[in-house]
Symmetry: C2
Subunit: 110 residues, 2 copies
């Protein structure tokens, strides 16, 4: 595992944003995908809790700030192209706004 | 788990593409994030092997076609917003073009 600083992340490709995959550290299920700008990732590293950029509300967003469904971040991983991020987290409550544990609760069928 | 058809997927938000998170079915590690258009997902469902849309090459791409590092797809999940997809796969060889198993082999440090 190579260690990188935030300057290594390529925010340009996504107009200032990178997709963030969120995985539970213990259960290892993929809980959601959201987006982050540089400030959201800086706040995540500084506070230890997952922050994102809400594209619909056009604002910074601390996950669980109103619902209490916080995500304590164990580590932030960066992919080989340095344009996608993975938050490995401990989830309080559920990740999905529908009340399901994971946002990936639909299965594609033919 | 709700069952959805491909028409449910919202390709509009991403100009015809959706992000695809790829997770190993056994080891449960997140291997990569790529993009797919409707045709790539249809080919994935039809053949049982992961297909994507390469944004850099602007072409359909069967993972492992040249490297042999195929991804046999067990299921395709869709998130609550229906704009992000998760391929749960069995990975032959490695997922990353660098030779690492997962593309997420860098850790963000302060």
């Amino acid at each position: 595992m190579k260690e990188l600083k935030i300057d290594s992340i390529d925010f340009k490709k996504g107009d200032g944003l990178v997709p963030v995959v969120v995985q539970d550290a213990e259960k290892q299920d993929v809980l959601m995908v959201a987006y982050a700008n540089r400030e959201a990732i800086e706040l995540t590293m500084k506070t230890g809790y997952a922050h994102y950029w809400s594209r619909s509300r056009q604002s910074l967003w601390k996950k669980g700030e109103t619902s209490g469904h916080l995500q304590k971040v164990r580590e932030v991983l960066i992919d080989c192209d340095q344009d996608t991020v993975l938050y490995v987290i401990d989830q309080t409550g559920v990740a999905c706004h529908t009340g399901e544990r994971s946002c990936f609760h639909n299965k594609l069928v033919q």
